[in-house]
């Protein structure tokens, strides 16, 4: 654990994340001056509660992006899982909530496994493949729901409490997110399958020479991404006690935006949990902050978009200066 802390501290101190953290701090200060009301524990808690779903999606999305892919179908997976869980729950209220959680994960994992199969083994371009499954899964969600909506009174207490209950004063959905961050921090940093994800993303050819089975790893990354989206789908319905087939529309883009903001390289090979945590915090604070200022809220999308562009520009410039340095070193040899 000590080691983990150290590496977290280190990555915070090195380059890119420092910039993000400073930006984050400045933002908080500005927010504090303009809207002191933002600074209450409960408003922070609400903010994170509402953003937990994005964070889960972003963790899965990061795995896929590190392999060099992308998954546009996560929001549809979330919808499908939510619809299946909610509809079965309303018909079988006696079943304990944990069953629906597991079912949500399973539904998501199956969706993800299908993505992983067509990308990893059938070699489809990830963006095209998941664009297709984005519509397919959303279509399934519609079929499963029959166009029906589920409203708060139809949700059992156990189901809703799974997300909105509190342990030590913190919402369960936040605990789940925190546990996921820790688990995936360990997975990506300390286990063979986790490290293989980086290996295939940084250099597919080298990975092949090193005996790594690229299709397997790609399949795994998509499956996990799907499973997290499935979990997020169940928790979404539990958190808001509402469900319809179109829920979460557009969340895949927010997940991608968080990854980019958190320094995950869209070409693969680079990205870390702490980056995604910072990216997600940034995104939620910005969103929350904007929503508090009446005049600004119409600008919400535009401001979020601008921040993504700025983050990508920072990535490009840091990448360019690194390349220049390598060329200079090589120049010394000629």
């Amino acid at each position: 654990m000590k080691n983990e802390k150290k590496s977290l501290l280190k990555s915070i101190l090195n380059g890119r994340n420092t910039g993000l953290l400073i930006a984050f701090a400045v933002l908080l200060i500005i927010a504090a001056i303009i809207t002191p009301s933002m600074y209450s524990i409960s408003s922070f808690m609400n903010m994170f509660q509402n953003n937990a779903v994005y964070m889960m999606l972003a963790v899965g999305m990061m795995l896929v992006i590190i392999t060099g892919g992308i998954d546009l179908s996560v929001a549809s997976t979330l919808g499908l899982s939510g619809v299946i869980c909610s509809s079965l729950m309303s018909k079988n209220p006696e079943v304990p909530a944990i069953v629906w959680v597991l079912l949500g994960i399973l539904v998501g994992a199956l969706c993800g496994a299908f993505n992983g199969f067509i990308v990893g083994y059938l070699k489809m371009v990830p963006m095209i493949a998941t664009l297709g499954t984005m519509y397919i899964f959303r279509g399934f969600a519609f079929l499963a729901s029959g166009g029906e909506w589920w409203f708060p009174h139809q949700f059992t207490e156990g189901y809703v409490k799974f997300a909105t209950g509190k342990i030590l004063g913190v919402y369960n959905i936040l605990w789940i997110t925190i546990i996921l961050f820790i688990l995936f921090g360990i997975f990506l940093g300390y286990t063979a399958p986790g490290r293989r994800i980086y290996a295939i993303g940084t250099n597919k050819e080298s990975a092949k020479v090193a005996g790594i089975k690229e299709p397997q790893i790609t399949f795994m990354a998509f499956t996990i991404c799907g499973a997290l989206a499935g979990l997020a789908g169940m928790l979404y319905t539990a958190n808001y006690a509402i469900c319809y087939y179109g829920m979460g529309d557009g969340y895949e883009m927010i997940a991608i935006a968080i990854c980019i903001l958190g320094g995950v390289s869209i070409t693969g090979g680079k990205g870390s949990i702490d980056g995604v945590i910072i990216g997600a915090l940034m995104m939620s604070v910005i969103t929350y902050f904007i929503s508090l200022l009446p005049g600004l809220s119409v600008w919400q999308s535009a401001i979020q978009g601008a921040i993504i562009i700025i983050a990508v520009l920072i990535n490009i410039f840091t990448g360019l200066s690194a390349k220049k340095r390598v060329l200079k070193e090589r120049g010394a040899l000629i």
Binding site: G189, N203, K270, L327, G331, I334
Partner: protein, 501 residues
């Protein structure tokens, strides 16, 4: 017990229709450094990939310590103690040095998690005897090429390699770095590691190897004791090829200088490149792959931007910032990879021909297709293009005819200088001749031609003047008369003096 650690007999490997290894033999003694030499494309790289299990041979026998083995993957060869350091370092640039070393054999704690602390410590232990300057926590991509190679060696050692294959390890090292590498190789040999050392440099071979094996044209030529074979004989064995009637008689009259390159520089790629091209002259730019020839051409053509130096056309300094500029000044480029850079396979042949000069066929901004087709037919006849249908895509043609389409495209433009990057690459012998004829005709018409080529017979057969590059520098410049393969090879292996630190 066999005398040899590793023995290969009659190994054949083909890719599609191309034979990469044609019945090669190889014998490696215990604790020897064995040099493997040959020209580009002689089959050395494929050979290593067979030994390491990346490729499976079509036929042939492989014996390790006298026992027959067959390798399905690199993990098979790794288990048997065979490790390779590839020419293009096959590392994971975004991952740390430690992780690169332990990739595939990570150390884990009792919970099954990576033990980074232990791995970092072991990595330091492995790296320290090789170099004191490498930080194992840094990403591999931040190291110099020489340092990356040392990491690869450390990686091989961490796997208890008995057989170590080094594919041109000294190709991009300075003299001092080479010397350090020699010492390390000798120390490994003394520790009982058998080393296959692939190299283009005679220096490496004399300094290190006790025996040398030569491949040529995918075939095994022979094995000699290093002290029993002369330099001259070795070169002859490496390049020995008949310069028969493969090249048309050159008829062009050489005129005044049309293109002058003076001290062209590009940091990290090449330095102080100067040469001239005259009207009707074919200048060959040769050297080993990676010497910087393609980069020089791309810079002249405006794809890359030079850091210094000048390009003069007809004695007038010109500034070329883009390929459009280059074409407007009258410089055309026939790119190395015609599939990717030369042709658009989705478009019909005639549109490919007109694609560089599309405005020529416009009338009030509207494209006149008849004019395009007319022009294409006219040009294709001139260069003897064998196509059934000019509106078919270029992919319907053979390699040689595809190349002719790229030629036709260039000829539509009003050009003075043609740069041809490996114009006959991947084209069969018969079709090569017709490409040479076209080149000859173009020279007769007064074009100045720069031909980048790695094939020495082609260079000697076609060029009027030969410029040899090595590691981003010009290391030789010869008139065709009196130039020999040996002279070119020597220049392309020469270390440039005065810049090593």
């Amino acid at each position: 017990m066999s005398n040899y650690v590793l023995e290969l007999k009659d190994v054949v490997k083909t890719f599609g229709g191309v034979t990469a290894l044609n019945g090669v033999h190889f014998q490696l003694k215990r604790g020897e450094i064995h040099a493997l030499m040959g020209e580009n494309g002689a089959g050395k790289s494929t050979f290593i990939k067979v030994i390491t299990g990346v490729h499976q041979p079509d036929s042939g026998v492989m014996l390790l310590e006298g026992e027959r083995i067959s390798l399905r993957s690199t993990s098979d060869s790794a288990k048997l103690g065979i490790a390779a350091i590839y020419q293009h370092v096959t590392a994971f640039p975004d991952l740390s040095v430690t992780e690169n070393i332990f990739m595939g054999q990570e150390l884990k704690n009792r919970a099954g998690l990576y033990n980074w602390k232990l791995m970092n410590r072991k990595a330091v232990e492995l790296i320290e005897p090789l170099s004191k300057e490498i930080d194992v926590m840094k990403p591999m991509g931040s190291l110099s090429v020489a340092q990356q190679q040392l990491v690869e060696i450390a990686k091989a050692l961490s796997r208890d390699a008995r057989i170590l294959i080094m594919d041109e390890p000294t190709a991009s090292l300075t003299k001092t770095e080479c010397e350090e590498l020699y010492l390390i190789a000798e120390r490994l040999r003394d520790d009982g590691v058998s080393i296959i050392f692939i190299t283009h440099k005679f220096e490496d071979m004399y300094r290190l190897a006790t025996r040398v094996t030569v491949f040529r044209d995918s075939q095994y030529i022979g094995t000699w004791d290093v002290d029993k074979i002369s330099n001259q004989k070795l070169i002859t064995e490496m390049v020995n090829r008949e310069l028969d009637q493969m090249y048309p008689h050159k008829t062009a009259k050489i005129g005044e200088v049309v293109l002058e390159i003076d001290k062209l520089n590009k940091e990290g790629y090449f330095k102080d490149i100067s040469f001239q091209v005259r009207k009707g002259e074919i200048v060959a730019l040769t050297g080993l792959v990676g010497a910087g020839r393609t980069e020089v051409c791309q810079t002249i053509f405006g794809i890359m931007k030079a850091d210094g130096g000048s390009v003069k056309l007809n004695n007038e300094a010109v500034s070329i910032k883009s390929p459009i500029d280059a074409l407007n000044w009258g410089i055309g480029l026939l790119p190395e990879d015609r599939q990717i850079q030369g042709l658009i396979n989705e478009l019909p042949i005639y549109q490919n021909v007109s694609s560089a000069t599309i405005t020529k066929f416009q009338k009030k901004n509207i494209l006149i297709e008849e004019k395009e087709i007319e022009n294409a037919i006219d040009l294709c006849q001139k260069i003897n293009l064998k196509a059934k249908d000019i509106s078919a895509p270029p992919s319907s043609l053979s390699g040689g005819n595809q190349q002719k389409v790229v030629f036709a495209k260039l000829l539509t433009c009003d050009l003075k200088v043609l740069i041809m990057d490996e114009p006959t690459k991947g084209i069969d012998v018969g079709a090569k001749y017709s490409i040479y004829e076209i080149m000859n005709e173009l020279a007769c018409k007064g074009y100045g031609i720069i031909m980048v080529s790695s094939e020495m017979p082609e260079v000697l057969g076609m060029a009027d003047h030969i410029v040899v590059m090595k590691s981003g520098r010009v290391t030789g410049s010869f008139e065709r008369k009196g130039a020999t393969q040996e002279m070119i090879l020597e220049a392309s292996l020469k270390q440039h003096n005065g810049t090593e630190d």
